[in-house]
């Protein structure tokens, strides 16, 4: 199973490190160590989407990523991907996924039924590290560290959107079907519950092997050809 990380600009390397701490190996390493079933790879061109089981849209500048996605001819590919496969967007990635973006308005993929306000906390001097609650496992009293950097805020969530994490009263991580989004940066913390939840989501939505996929899997491991990052 391979998780792609959109690597046009921003904190893609930090996501790769987070996935590696959860046992993922880089696809580009060529060799596929036995027993390692989780791989990650960088995605920067349209052909890189082939064979991915899930995708992470990292933090960075959403305007820069939008520009590059359109110039690289990746937009249609990305839109088709996020409509059918699991995706996790953090900060700028959450902005790209939301249906409506304000402050200022900009184009988005629109697969998360939410309105998101860019730079809602203010500028860099207003960035902060806070403690919040991870709701899927409320019995564990341990709070979740949340790194907010020039972060956005959800101002509206659709009825089908489930809140995964809260900071005070604010929803800061959400899920709608196969779409996950966080307004903070779990890739910059040592607590990896957000990434682990996403890996579970990818695992549960990866279709069981059919004859056809068995056939292609025997020809080559999808998405894991040497040097493919």
């Amino acid at each position: 199973m391979t998780i792609g990380i959109l690597a046009l600009q921003g904190a893609f390397a930090a996501h790769a490190r987070a996935l590696e701490r959860l046992g993922a190996a880089p696809c580009a390493a060529g060799a596929h160590p036995g027993g390692q079933e989780l791989f990650w790879k960088y995605v920067s061109r349209a052909q890189d989407f082939d064979g991915l089981d899930g995708l992470i849209l990292p933090g960075g500048e959403s305007t820069t990523m939008l520009k590059l996605l359109q110039e690289e001819g990746c937009w249609e590919q990305l839109l088709a991907f996020v409509q059918t496969r699991p995706v996790l967007g953090t900060c700028a990635g959450a902005i790209l996924l939301s249906r409506e973006v304000t402050h200022p308005a900009q184009l988005s993929l629109g697969v998360l039924d939410a309105t998101i306000v860019r730079n809602a906390y203010g500028r860099q001097v207003d960035s902060s590290i806070r403690q919040g609650n991870w709701l899927p496992a409320p019995e564990s009293a341990q709070q979740l560290e949340m790194v907010f950097i020039r972060a956005p805020q959800f101002s509206r969530l659709g009825t089908g959107v489930r809140v995964l994490a809260q900071e005070g009263e604010l929803p800061v991580a959400v899920q709608q079907g196969q779409v996950m989004a966080a307004t903070f940066h779990p890739e910059l913390s040592s607590d990896l519950r957000v990434h682990a939840h996403f890996i579970d989501l990818v695992r549960s939505s990866t279709p069981p092997l059919t004859n056809q996929s068995l056939f292609s899997a025997s020809a080559s491991t999808p998405g894991c050809s040497p040097g493919s990052s």
Binding site: Q9, T63, T64, K67, V125, I149
Partner: protein
């Protein structure tokens, strides 16, 4: 608290990786930069090429100008303060810029001391020509290092020299034994703890960007392939024939810095880059990079 502060400061630099930070002098240029895909802008009154030509004392930009740029774009806005001028830093922090560049491009305000950057909430970036200088700046609280290069020349040769020096000196550290690190720290004039950290990790504890004389997409890719994590472009863009086109080409070249096919594409369509000055023809006292201690 201090550790979390540093994580937030380097965290923003993490978000800028793989991007291009462009020097702009007004709202129109800032808009062009943002539309081209810049991940941040540096708000300046004069770009380095003009500072070099016009001479005089170069200070922090006018607040009105920086504020106008902050109101125009949604991407992070940086601004420069003079080396050692902690009050310019205080003013820029109060204004709310996202990063302060304690820059050799401006006329230094202190010939011995740099700003104590730990005392600030706003993150600072500082220039360096080698590992010792980079580690001294990090010890003072810099949350990002950039090569100095030679600003305002359009000649990439010293940006290359500086990134090569930093990368080589880091690699050398990883080969030294524990007893050798003490002596090396003395030679580098850098704190032993930071030297030991770099020896262990093989990289700086803060992001390492490149600046100074980067004028074409090929220049940008060159410093990226040599190990830079993002690129500052100063005079190169707005001293060229078609700034919007060059800005877009720079952004694509940094994203796909290792893909010769993209580099060919973006290089093909370009107009004239800035004419530039060969650094070899500069007198030593004309060099900006020797400022900083």
């Amino acid at each position: 608290m201090e550790l979390n502060g540093l994580r937030l400061k380097t965290g923003l630099a993490e978000m800028l990786k793989g991007g291009v930070i462009m020097d702009v002098t007004n709202a129109d240029q800032a808009r062009i930069a943002e539309q081209a895909g810049a991940c941040a802008v540096m708000a300046l009154e004069r770009i380095p090429a003009d500072i070099r030509r016009e001479g005089g004392v170069a200070r922090m930009s006018s607040i009105r100008k920086i504020r106008e740029i902050m109101q125009t774009v949604s991407i992070p806005v940086m601004a420069k303060c003079r080396i050692g001028h902690f009050v310019e830093g205080q003013i820029l922090q109060e204004l709310g810029v996202d990063y302060v560049d304690e820059s050799e491009v401006l006329t230094p305000a202190d010939e011995k001391h740099h700003v104590d950057k730990h005392a600030f909430k706003v993150p600072f970036v500082c220039g360096a020509r080698n590992l010792g200088e980079a580690l001294r700046r990090i010890a003072e609280g810099a949350a990002m290092i950039r090569t100095k290069g030679e600003a305002g020349t359009g000649d990439v040769v010293h940006a290359v020299q500086h990134i090569r020096a930093i990368v080589r000196e880091m690699r050398e550290l990883t080969l030294l034994g524990p007893d050798e690190l003490y002596t090396r720290a003395k030679e580098l004039q850098a704190p032993y703890e930071l030297v030991r950290l770099v020896a262990k990790e093989g990289q700086l504890p803060v992001p390492n960007f490149s600046a100074g004389g980067i004028a074409t997409p090929a220049d940008a890719s060159l410093v990226m392939q040599l190990g830079a994590e993002a690129v500052f472009v100063g005079s190169g863009i707005f001293k060229s024939e078609d700034p919007a086109a060059l800005a877009r080409a720079m952004v694509r070249a940094v994203t796909h810095f290792a893909d010769p096919q993209v580099l060919l594409e973006v290089s093909e369509e370009l107009g004239e880059p800035m004419r530039g000055i060969s650094i070899a023809t500069l007198r030593p006292e004309e060099q900006l990079q020797t400022r900083g201690w």
